[in-house]
């Protein structure tokens, strides 16, 4: 997807999520929650499912938007719907409700950009989850060291904080990264994700 020169006027909703701006977020719920609820309820879900789905989708959008320059090239509602839709289909699969026909909301069938953007969003989130999961399986020492360093702390400071020598910290870090990379490559989700694209 090539970013358009000027963002869609709905970019304000993205900004509201990035700023944790109550008023803007309130407006997102006022304007869009009803139809998503309708979508979930007419597809084997409850109002509570709809609330969770709506929230998770907004978080996914927020995570995508905070990564880098993010330009919304389509109406926010179409994008949100596509994210919700794909998440809900995954959820139905998990609940073993495979093969059910999805009762679609009307008016979003021509939103190519929204579809592409939603796919990117989903993929980015799956990848984040995979990396995070494997990261959390590292030894406590590795997690501490990598966390400090990757939050932007200089290695000399990291070594000081962990009360080890600079040389040891650097060597240890290299080992931790090697372990992390190996784990990620070995995970079944990585294979699935790579087959999908990369």
């Amino acid at each position: 997807m090539s970013p358009s020169p000027s963002p869609h006027s709905d970019q304000k909703y993205i900004q509201a999520l990035l700023d944790n701006d109550r008023k803007g977020i309130q407006e997102i719920y006022e304007k869009f929650s009803k139809r998503i609820r309708q979508f979930v309820v007419s597809n084997n879900g409850s109002a509570k499912d709809a609330q969770d789905l709506f929230q998770e989708s907004l978080i996914a959008i927020y995570q995508k938007a905070r990564k880098s320059e993010f330009v919304l090239s389509c109406p926010f509602e179409a994008y949100l719907y596509m994210v919700c839709r794909s998440k809900w289909i995954n959820e139905l699969n998990k609940r073993k409700k495979v093969g059910v026909t999805i009762e679609e909301l009307k008016g979003f069938s021509n939103e190519e950009d929204a579809n592409t953007l939603a796919e990117e969003t989903e993929r980015a989130q799956e990848q984040d989850i995979l990396f995070q999961t494997e990261f959390n399986k590292l030894s406590e020492g590795c997690i501490k060291l990598l966390s400090l360093s990757w939050k932007g702390e200089h290695m000399e400071k990291v070594a000081q904080q962990l009360d080890v020598s600079y040389a040891y910290a650097r060597k240890k870090k290299s080992e931790c990264i090697a372990k992390l990379m190996k784990r990620i490559r070995a995970s079944s989700d990585f294979e699935r994700l790579t087959r999908g694209e990369i």
């Binding site: 977020i25 719920y29 990564k67 984040d128 990396f131 939050k151 080992e175 090697a178």
Partner: protein, 250 residues
Amino acid sequence: MEDKYQNIEKYVNGDLSGQELVDFEKRLEEDDSLAEEVKLFRQVKESISDQLVHEQDEESLKGTLTEIGSQFFEEKKKEATIRPLFRRFLLPATGIAAAILLLIIVRPFQGSLYNQFGQMPTAAFIEQGNAQEANLLQAQQAFNQKDYQAAKDVFQQYLTRESNKDDVEIQFFLGLSHLELEEYAQAESIFQSLHEGNSAYKNEGTWYLALNFLKQKNRVKCREYLELIPEATSHYDEAQILLRKIRNKN
């Protein structure tokens, strides 16, 4: 091998220079598996860093979403908290509202949509015998007898006093008077400020803003505001019926 990731990380961070950089780039070109490793490392590091840096912001955002979400998805809660604030004029009117709603459904088409939906609430903000606000009592009676001009004059005067200017209830009835007198711009500005505010009249503001547009036959704007009325609040049901009717007319 031990410094493999030291080099990769230096390269990714842009910390390699001179001969070191030239050598590394040459290896990258020759060795596909190294190039692949660099690509994956870049993704991993960016992802983990991003999560570490935004951890707290994300938690705060989740808090906001959970709180706002429960207002919108949990059923029939909002009205219960708002109702006491409205009791001065809404409670006696709820039975009537239900009857009107029934009437609208049973008699689908009589006159303009505005005439079907633009029901004026009964003003009851002042009790008989409250001598201090004798003027308001008169205005209330005038309003209820549909003498909106007389009511409007008193409301306007009342609101010019510094101590009264924030009285949202009188603002609301002044807005209604403007609406009935077809002074749309003034009505709009009052309902808009109620709609944007957080008083007990917020929802009323939205609803009458929609009706103000309906009366001007601006269906697009009317719809826009009707769609903002949250479920489980007063006017929601009416708003849904009106939305359906507007759609059918298009």
